[in-house]
């Protein structure tokens, strides 16, 4: 890749080479039986060049032909995509603990044993259908640019994902557990799956209307994705964010604090630099309900006359391959500050309401506007502080800029949650809201 950078520097003003190698090994158990083992070892390179303020971009998998990728990048300059930014000079990054050899050395046999262990417990304690996937992911990212930046980082991810399916429905109580090292799925998570599955085995028919609704980490991507959209510098630039002029104003309930901390290496995926080689630092987005900051990559920072906050990532909804993507602003390490209530305390404070264990259709609807309308999959029905069953065919609809004003309480534990972007995860607690609109068939 150094050679490619040298070649690129000869024909244009600025250049950057990004390379990634990754190994991904998933083991899948379906219906409590080993179903599949796959393996991927993939490599790739992308090249960004800037000449006379115009951007060229190209990528390839096998770097067989350096002339070809450079030519592709030069050809794409003719499209005249504006690029008035420069690549950063990044030196002396904080040392993060992102790599653990227990993941790279984990044998597939060990993963099979761990899945089988969890399957056995779930099968002995429930009458549902058990599905478990365990996987390891090891990535090695290296970025060099014409400013002299040369940064690299190796990271390990171990994850286990699964749960119990209500027979005949393919709807499930499931949990995801991720770590930068191999560890057994903690008992409290297994027990929570069993308890919630058992409590919600019966289908209840209930009338809709306004009621209390608790978004679990498993369904919080409904809200995450809209916060992501509303506070992105890309949305500000495109003038589609409803909070573009609200910095310093209270937009959510004061219990809500949202920050992004890519340096926190307690969790897997911590990063000292983003996918553009910009140094990462913690950033507060919302503090006690007040909008503090938007987040930027190099491109949108320059367009908006701001500084990159180190949030340029090669991501896409549906998880396209990194090398094929140009960086966009992304909250790749979003965290919602936990509250003080345990899950059972939160449930006890619900006179009548629904706990959304999974949301269907979170990625559709008018996302920039903050509107959402999701099907519950499943929705646990609560009366007088007790879960008495699950509801089917119910929809919860609202707008996050309204919903996040009606926070009753926030759970005390952070769980991984999706934000709608490939592998990147948010860490969020369960949040109980008041007065949300629920539609049911009854």
């Amino acid at each position: 890749m150094e050679k490619l950078l040298e070649m690129a520097k000869k024909v244009c003003d600025k250049a950057e080479v990004y390379s990634i190698d990754y190994i991904y090994n998933p083991v899948t158990f379906e219906d409590a039986k080993l179903h599949d083992i796959e393996s991927k070892f993939q490599s790739g390179i992308s090249l960004r060049i800037i000449k006379n303020g115009k951007l060229g971009f190209a990528y390839t998998k096998n770097l067989i032909n350096r002339e070809e990728i450079l030519q592709n990048a030069l050809d794409s300059i003719k499209g005249e995509v504006e690029a008035s930014y420069d690549f950063p000079l990044t030196k002396e990054l904080p040392k993060l603990d992102t790599y653990n050899p227990s993941v790279e050395n984990l044998s597939t046999t060990k993963m099979v044993e761990e899945c089988a262990r969890v399957c056995d417990i779930l099968r002995s304690k429930t009458d549902g259908e058990i599905s478990i996937t365990s996987s390891t992911y090891i990535e090695d990212i290296h970025i060099i640019n014409s400013k002299g930046t040369d940064v690299s980082q190796k990271g390990t991810f171990y994850g286990i994902y699964g749960g119990v399916i209500y027979p005949g429905s393919a709807s499930a109580i499931w949990r995801i557990f991720i770590s930068k090292k191999f560890e057994k799925l903690p008992d409290d998570i297994v027990n929570e799956i069993i308890e919630l599955y058992t409590l919600s085995s019966n289908v209840v028919e209930t009338k809709g209307g306004k009621m209390k609704v608790m978004f679990m980490p498993n369904s919080m991507h409904t809200l995450n994705g809209r916060i992501f959209s509303g506070t992105s510098s890309k949305s500000i630039y495109e003038k589609i964010s409803p909070v573009a002029d609200k910095i310093g104003e209270k937009i959510f309930n004061e219990k809500i604090t949202i920050y992004d901390d890519s340096l926190n290496d307690k969790y897997p995926g911590a990063r000292a630099f983003d996918d553009e080689g910009v140094r990462c630092k913690p950033l507060t987005i919302i503090e006690n309900g007040i909008l503090k900051s938007f987040y930027y990559d190099l491109n949108y920072a320059t367009k908006l006359n701001a500084e990159s906050t180190g949030h340029g990532y090669k991501v896409l909804q549906w998880g396209g391959e990194q090398i094929t993507l140009k960086p966009i602003p992304a909250l790749a390490h979003m965290t919602i500050k936990p509250g003080k209530k345990s899950f059972s305390e939160l449930v006890k404070s619900i006179d009548r309401g629904i706990i959304i264990e999974g949301a269907l259709g979170a990625h559709s609807g008018n996302i920039p506007n903050g509107d959402y309308s999701v099907g519950v999959n499943p929705g646990l029905y609560v009366e007088n502080g007790e879960i008495i069953g699950r509801v089917k065919d119910a929809m919860i609809a609202g707008n996050i800029y309204e919903t996040l004003k009606y926070v009753i309480d926030i759970g005390d534990t952070l769980h991984p949650s999706f934000i709608g972007l490939g592998d990147y995860n948010a860490w969020v607690p369960a949040i109980l809201f008041d007065n949300l609109s629920v539609v049911t068939k009854y």
């Binding site: 039986k33 393996s39 399916i165």
Partner: protein
């Protein structure tokens, strides 16, 4: 290339193995409002190896030829691990040995059109909505994706096939005060660049809808009888029914497998559903799947009764049913999984006017936006709709999301129109992306749909 692949396979000590090598070429052009954000062509490649040994099946996707030995060892180890940990061995259905080169005929090969010409055309389309004051922005993408595929297996099959897909898709976004509305626009297909031409009226129509939505009222949440237009009904067919016709989805769900037994009556007499990837010139068209099996049409439902399903070699053996040729990968990064080709509800007799009269009071909802299914539950959005009173089309409505249960909804389809339309753009994300996923339907009348308005 075949020689190189044969050499790799010759080193595999197993009962069966296959290898696929692909070169994927794509050209992308993206506009965000006036601004061009992406342009360029790229070429990527890679291998997928699958190995069946002693009843264990495993796959490895790798980039570098120099990794082929590591890939072989990993695949064999994993296959044997599966054998050790399963009571029931995995079998692959026997198929015919095929030796074929299939290069589709194109109406204008996108590889022969300059990027400059493509850019000019896309820019002209993008300028149509941007010419209106209340259009805040647009997201318009052009893509052509060419998969040059090489497949061989140890049974002697040897296939070289090209899949050429052209796509034009995006969103038009209108804004007035605090209200923004968006409507999607799409075109494309499997038979060349000509699918991308002459889309001016398409862009004009979609722009008009986006502007009209600014004056539409939000739908009131509730339960309604609805007419679904062909696009929305096609997405329903794909999302809610189609996925359960994919044998790999229900294979390991015993209760669901029971519900989806061939011969079970799930819908009304009027309901007939087919998957036919062989209809020429449609987005979903292909000849061989990524297991080297020739695709064939499958009648999935006849008069409301389940009559067939979509298979891979693995599931055809597991279910003891006919192989269908529906095991397809996104590209060289993935082993193939079962995918729909061109799935649609077959047309019946009713005209749109007759459906309106049958409906009386209810909603007419059009064009899907986003859809998701988990088990029997599905949710998806409609881009816009109209209130229907006494069989007459009334005022426009917006912010429509529907949710339901597959089995109830199939029974609630009470009438099917005579006006079949197949989709021009796919995009099914079942673990991998399938840009060729094609669906369709005539207008259909469905009772008791849950609408979750804001």
């Amino acid at each position: 290339m075949f020689d190189k692949m044969r050499t790799i396979l010759s080193k595999v000590d197993a009962d069966y193995s296959d290898i696929r090598y692909e070169i994927k070429k794509d050209t992308v052009i993206s506009f965000n409002g006036k601004e061009l954000t992406k342009i360029g062509s790229n070429s990527t490649d890679g291998y997928v190896l699958r190995v069946l040994k002693n009843g264990g099946l495993s796959s490895v996707a790798f980039t570098k030829e120099s990794d082929s030995e590591k890939a072989i060892n990993t695949a064999i180890e994993n296959a044997q691990l599966i054998t050790k940990n399963r009571e029931k061995p995995i079998k692959l259905a026997k198929t015919e040995v095929v030796k074929d080169i299939f290069i589709p005929e194109l109406k204008e090969d996108p590889r022969k059109i300059s990027t400059a010409e493509k850019l000019e055309l896309v820019r002209d389309y993008n300028n149509i909505p941007l010419g209106y004051k209340k259009i805040a922005t647009t997201i318009i993408n052009y893509e052509d994706v060419i998969r040059e595929k090489y497949f061989i297996n140890t049974e002697g099959t040897e296939i070289r096939e090209d899949l050429v897909t052209t796509l034009l898709f995006g969103e038009i976004i209108s804004k007035e005060g605090n209200l923004t509305q968006n409507v999607r626009v799409s075109a494309g297909g499997s038979n060349g660049f000509s699918n991308i031409r002459n889309q001016e009226s398409n862009f004009e129509e979609r722009t008009a809808i986006t502007l009209n939505l600014l004056k539409a009222k939000p739908v009131k949440g509730g339960v309604y009888n609805c007419i679904l237009n062909p696009h929305l009904a096609g997405v329903f067919t794909h999302e809610a029914f189609g996925h359960f016709s994919e044998a790999d989805i229900i294979e390991t769900l015993p209760a669901m497998r029971e519900k989806m037994k061939i011969g079970n009556k799930l819908g009304n007499e009027i309901l007939n559903i087919v998957d036919n990837a062989l209809i020429p010139n449609q987005l979903g068209f292909y000849k061989y799947d990524d297991e080297g099996v020739e695709v064939r049409p499958v009648q999935l439902m006849k008069n409301g009764v389940l009559t067939g399903r979509l298979h891979s070699k693995r599931t055809a053996a597991e279910f003891g049913e006919q192989i269908s040729g529906h095991c397809v990968a996104e590209d060289f990064r993935y082993p193939p999984i079962i995918r729909m080709g061109t799935i649609f509800i077959e047309p019946d007799k009713s005209s749109f006017e007759e459906l309106l009269n049958m409906l009386g009071d209810g909603l007419y909802i059009l064009d899907a936006k986003g859809g998701q299914t988990a088990g029997e539950n599905f949710t998806f959005g409609a881009q816009y709709g109209y209130v229907i009173r006494n069989g007459k089309v009334g005022e426009m409505i917006r912010d429509i999301n529907i949710s339901g249960n597959l089995y109830q909804t199939l029974k609630n389809i009470v009438a099917v129109g005579n006006d079949l339309v197949l989709s021009k753009r796919g995009g099914c994300g079942k673990g991998q992306m399938n840009i060729r996923s094609c669906n369709g339907s005539p207008h259909i009348l469905v009772n008791n749909i849950v609408i979750g308005g804001v």
